[in-house]
């Protein structure tokens, strides 16, 4: 019986490795022709050079009848991003359309489980046609396994989904269950039911782009958190996003030296709020001046735009920022903005990132579509999220803060630890005109010159009520500060609160957040 030498066995391995690099050159060319990178190319560009270690590299499908390809259409393993260990899986569209079979699904599930055990982030590069029909219910179970693993890992480690191809059917739920979804223009598509079935059932003619392109999910459905033009930009974004996040929910925050001094006084802030209360300004200018230079990373910039959510650094400490945007709908909170803020606040709470809130909100967005759309339910999510969060919560009231919207934007009753207000703050139940109509209804009805009386009462109300001092007298504002002092004040409050422990929490299985 011929015995194969050790040398021969090693040579066999080398040949196998060479084969595995590009399994199907024809399909690889087709992938490139579509403007998409191959799975291994993506991993090379995302991870630090030479840091990738593959797992289950030769796993094959049991149920698939015929020549099962090694790896089963997904490449998974661990590597480093900017020196930090991460787990990653990249679906390979050139292998059976990246379809999910038993081995494929199990590999992804195992990668996420390993990431949980290791306490490091996991990044999924999704590019798949969906469940593998040939494997029947086994494929569905595989998809289900991925979904349940993502849920178990949720809140333990950061999970980032990068959509680099189609993601249809049940498997489109996996990225949605992860913490952040990045979509790439013209390459990513996510939908539950494809155009053909949609046409059959509802008669609607819809293209891939209409149903689930990057723009739709970034600006209409709110499924995507970021939208980039190219795959490389998406990888840059993953690196940037990870730099703000701890490895897991028990790990310390990644503080960086930005070289920006914490006690920087910014006189330009004193000049941003216009004298005329009907004139808007861009809240992003304020954020750009208060936080460390060029560190603001906006999350979901195209959806729910009356609230800005994003990560930033304050003297190097990563923080979560929630801020009203007076440029959009006067800063009024609508359904999308409430949901966006609520989810963001809950994510930040999961990973111990402090929350800094900037308030300039006149109220909730009025309208039939808002009320019938359930602004009550969705606005409640924001209230729940803020109250539940046990991270340091610091609020700066910049201009308007009226009514229920004042309450939900990180007010004292929502558990804000320190509340600052600018001299331009107007903290009141409602604006002057509406308020005097109610309070002085009788006097106005009896008045000889109603317009004159109205004008006088409005002026009085504006002087008495539309300022931060009534709220300060009630202890709901800790200090009225000059805008130029904001950065230093925030830094001092933040550093003393960083090791905050919230003791007054009743024991329960979990609350019932309105959904």
């Amino acid at each position: 019986m011929p015995v194969r030498s050790v040398k021969e066995r090693i040579k066999e391995l080398e040949e196998l490795r060479e084969q595995l690099r590009v399994l199907d050159p024809e399909k690889a060319k087709a992938q490139h022709a579509k403007g998409k990178l191959l799975a291994r190319e993506r991993l090379e560009r995302l991870l630090d050079p030479g840091s990738f270690q593959e797992i289950a590299s030769l796993a094959k499908s049991r149920l698939f009848q015929g020549r099962a390809p090694p790896g089963d259409g997904v490449i998974a393993g661990f590597g480093k991003i900017n020196g930090r260990p991460v787990y990653v899986f990249a679906q390979d569209f050139t292998v059976m359309g990246g379809s999910i079979g038993e081995a494929h699904g199990e590999k992804i599930a195992r990668t996420i489980e390993l990431a949980m055990k290791s306490g490091v982030p996991v990044i999924g590069l999704w590019d798949s046609g969906g469940a593998r029909i040939q494997e029947g219910v086994g494929a569905l179970h595989a998809v289900g396994r991925i979904l349940s693993t993502v849920v178990h890992a949720s809140g333990v480690i950061p999970q980032i989904a990068v959509m680099l191809g189609p993601s249809a059917g049940g498997s489109a739920y996996a990225p949605a269950l992860m913490d952040f979804t990045i979509m790439v223009e013209k390459i990513s598509y996510m939908f539950i039911t494809g155009p053909n079935v949609v046409k059959e059932v509802t008669g609607e003619e819809a293209t891939f782009e209409d149903l689930g392109g990057a723009r739709v999910h970034a600006s209409i459905s709110g499924v995507a958190h970021f939208r980039t033009e190219t795959e490389d930009e998406a990888f840059d974004l993953v690196r940037r996003l990870l730099s703000y996040l701890p490895d897991n929910f028990e790990a310390p925050l990644p503080v960086e030296d930005t070289g920006d001094p914490p006690e920087r006084v910014e006189p330009a802030l004193d000049a941003i709020i216009p004298d005329d209360p009907t004139k808007p300004y861009d809240m992003r200018e304020i954020l750009g001046l208060v936080f460390d230079g060029d560190t603001f990373l906006e999350v979901q910039p195209e959806w729910g735009q009356s609230i800005i959510t994003g990560f930033a650094r304050l003297a190097g400490i990563p923080v979560c920022v929630v801020a009203s945007q007076p440029l959009v709908a006067s800063g009024a909170i609508d359904i999308n903005a409430s949901i966006k803020a609520a989810r963001f606040v809950r994510f930040c709470d999961s990973f111990n990132l402090p929350i800094i809130t900037f308030v300039d909100v006149p109220g909730y967005m009025p309208g039939l579509d808002q009320e019938q759309g359930g602004i009550i339910r969705h606005g409640a999510k924001m209230i729940y999220a803020y109250t539940e969060a046990s991270v340091p919560k610091i609020t700066v009231i910049v201009r308007k803060a009226y009514g229920g919207a004042y309450i939900s934007m990180g007010s004292r009753s929502m558990g804000a630890d320190v509340v600052f207000a600018w001299p331009t703050a107007e903290i009141a139940v409602m604006g002057a005109k509406a308020a005097i109509q109610i309070i002085y209804r009788r006097q106005l009805a009896k008045a000889e010159n109603r317009e004159e009386l109205e004008k006088k009462l409005i002026e009085e109300y504006e002087k008495e009520m539309l300022n931060p001092y009534r709220a300060a007298e009630l202890g709901l504002v800790d200090e009225v500060i000059k805008p130029s002092e904001t950065r230093a004040k925030l830094y001092n409050a933040l550093t003393v609160l960083l090791s905050k422990r919230d003791y007054c929490r009743p024991r329960k299985k979990h609350g019932n957040i309105p959904l």
Binding site: A271, G293, D294, P301, E302, L327, S330
Partner: protein, 162 residues
Amino acid sequence: MDGRGRQQRGEDNSSHNVRIVEVQHEDAGVYTVVFEAEDGSRSSVRVRVEGDIISTPFGSYHVSELLSASKSAKRRRERRKGSSISWLVDFESGVAKTKLSVKVVEVYKKPGERVEEGDTVLVVETMKMLNEVPSPCSGVLVEVAKSGAGVPQGGILFRVEC
């Protein structure tokens, strides 16, 4: 820009946009770059280029980082200009229609006047705030609502022929 990527602000809090006017080669890897601000004033900075790294008095930068940062900043600026008013105004083939009923408070351009993409055409009031509405493209303003007029939901604010 200062060394941390923040735009310098003038006394009136305007942000300065600068463009590079001239690059003088001083020595091996050393250049003097001359900038011109919007107001015409010029300033110069000496930079050293070594391999992939550009060193300036304000900090050192990787060339590839600067390139990708400037590309994405440009794209963000472009997106911002367009998307800020999309909650209120629908633009389709140069026609600006309002999504809420508004009052036209001030009109800056006349019919027949040329407008550039991003120029403010008029200001409308809704939800107790003033909102500037920019032109979605460069072209000629064909029609525009009158100052003081109330425009109902779905009404036309202006029409530009791009």
